[in-house]
């Protein structure tokens, strides 16, 4: 049985670190894991995705249309952009966070209204305010690890030794902060 997790957001939001921690944990738990990311030009404020797949034996590193068990979006509009990759039986965790793209900043388009409500009408949706919680923890940058916490809880992966994974993969001075962020994220789902 292969499970697929789709993490999406905007270049610079830290999806890459979140997926790195996630895949490392899955590997150490004994799963076969594959993960796909596209780097390059999209990093400059573009739409980004990390596709994580795990199970006994994983063939493709990419998630197909209608293939994700969970869609975790670091930004509201990105959840809408990637929704077709979710299984009809899948669920969404969405960060209540808005990043205006250049056409919106330039006044050519309006940021779409009511995304969170429409998502909730279509699929089981958990809305989290990771920015608020990250700021309360003292560093807006840990939004990504809070969202990682929501994935772990949503996918029932709590038994993996996340503390060790985090200590092994982040700078010692940020370890405690990230552990707190992970706990906050897990409590939100």
């Amino acid at each position: 049985m292969v499970k697929s997790i789709l993490l999406v957001g905007v270049g610079g939001q830290g999806t890459i670190l979140a997926s790195k921690l996630l895949t490392t944990g899955l590997m150490e738990a004994g799963y076969d894991v594959k993960m796909s990311e596209i780097h390059g030009m999209s990093q400059r404020g573009g739409s980004v995705s990390s596709q994580v797949r795990y199970g006994d034996k994983v063939e493709a590193p990419v998630i197909e249309v209608g293939g994700a068990d969970i869609l975790v979006s670091f930004e509201k509009m990105e959840a809408w952009r990637w929704l077709k990759y979710l299984k009809p039986t899948g669920k969404v965790v969405v960060n209540d966070y808005q990043i205006n793209s250049m056409p919106i900043l330039a006044g050519k388009f309006d940021y779409p209204d009511g995304i969170l409500e429409e998502l909730a009408n279509k699929v089981p949706t958990t809305v989290v305010n990771a920015a608020k919680h990250a700021t309360e923890l003292g560093n807006p940058k840990v939004m990504n690890v809070i969202l990682l916490g929501t994935i772990i809880k949503s996918m029932g992966l709590e038994t993996i030794h996340w503390e060790k994974i985090i200590r092994d993969n982040v700078k010692p001075k940020f370890a405690e902060l990230n552990l707190k962020a992970l706990a906050v994220g897990m409590s939100l789902v």
Partner: protein, 593 residues
Amino acid sequence: MKKLLTGNEAIARGAYEAGVKFASAYPGTPSTEILENIATYKEDILAEWAPNEKVALEAVIGASIAGARAMASMKHVGVNVAADPLFTYAYTGVNGGMVLVTADEPGQHSSQNEQDNRNYAKFAKIAMLEPADSQEAKDMIKTAFTISEGFDTPVLVRMTTRVCHSKGIVECKDREEVGIKEYVKNVRKYVTVPANARVLRVKVEERLKKLQEFSNTTELNYIEWNSTKIGVIASGGCCNYAREVFGDSASYLKLGFTHPLPTEKIKEFCHKVEKVYVIEENDPYIEEQVRLLGFACSGKDLFPFCGELTPDVIRKAVYGKENPSIDYDADKVVPRPPTFCAGCPHRGFFYTLGKRKNILVSGDIGCYTLGFAEPYNAMDYNICMGASISAGHGAQQIFSMQKDSPMRVVAVLGDSTFFHTGVTSLLDVTYNQSNTITVILDNRITGMTGHQENPGSGYTLQGKETIQVDIEKLVRACGINQIRVINPNDLKAVEEALDWALSLNEPSVIITRWPCVLKKFSPQDKEEFKGSFTQRCAVDPEVCVGCRMCLKTGCPAVSFDKTGKKANIGLDCVGCEVCLQVCPKNAIHKEEA
């Protein structure tokens, strides 16, 4: 030991385990991290950024001739630049093993084309391997060196973006120290004057025959028998995609060694299955061989020529539809194109340039290519690395032929692109004297690929301090007498420099010198650009009249509050002051961040 590695990290690990002594590359997505990861094996491998791919491959060829195992890596279009030495080294053969990794881009995520570099193996008549995932990437690099030395051939290893940038679990082993082979002068083998090259030419054909035999016997090409109703022939990542779609309902001929193709294995497979699908991204490279052998198959008649053949694409092609998904109105989503970062030194320059009339802006490859887009609209074309200056020269010569034409050419390229192939292009301008204006956007680093050192940055890939090539002196040495160095964040300086250059009737160069906002500053940078990026700009809402002039700078830190009708500057501002200079009401001021 098991590790979770990207394909690129796995290639680097393979090079380490294979006993590689020397590696060289020029950065380019999706290949960049290969050499960056090789560079971490500092004790064992000398890893160098070269100014361009041709130079990288030539350095690797020299290392191979001198007896070391050596590897070059580059993006697909980089192989075009490096094709000249490749085709000759294909004739001479190697001393120490030589492997060239090409990172192709089905889907064109970060590239100007989608060329299928498997054609290069056929064209140059050399061996080729195609890994499907990270484990294979590591293993095949080691096999590639054995093949290179065993068959006296350069070996092409063809990766694709998904294999480069996907992670998988890799069993890592120790380094095999193969040493450096003795160098023995051998002019008949290595001096390719026609008399020798004609002899080598025959050997190349003999080598191909031996490689053909190898292709038919090697376990790199294998059959997985399941149901014989459907037979899938695939190489690289496509085989994994196909398994997602067909599972056990198909048998697979999985090809890892793809030049020359295993004709006997293909025959054996096609005879036993009822329906053959050839699933490959880009060109019908395998399909043509299958058809040549006389077998009917479904290939490019069914699967797209363009883009990636991910499982949903295969599913749609074979069964007419994708998996069920949620029905919703995707049109609500606003595009999110890449943009210049807040504080990017290209912003001030392109903002100013875009307002000029009767200018053809000859573009190049880098972050600054985004200057073509809204709100700057300051680029007419871009062709390939270095072409801004030379194509600009050609265009200027035609404009200058027409007495009434007011058109002037401004060629724009970055520091790393200038070192890559811009220098020779500038020689064309000075030698043939067109009044082309060349602008070198010197942001002190190779930007778009993620901050690689270059000949102007003062450091090598493995962190040694080195000569910092002075762009101004280099430009002067190329024969340019009219040079200005400016700060591109100073809009008045940009205007004046453009006025000055446009007034000249001879070639000129403007160098904009300001670091990439994401660059990790070197000690020299800290001194030269002291205090930069430490302040921010803010809008005084009492003074702001909501004219939106500041929004025309296209800065992601600047937004507009529609209810209050005021501009707002976000915390990602680093104080470049471009918006401050554009504001007609002086409503923007500087403050400590």
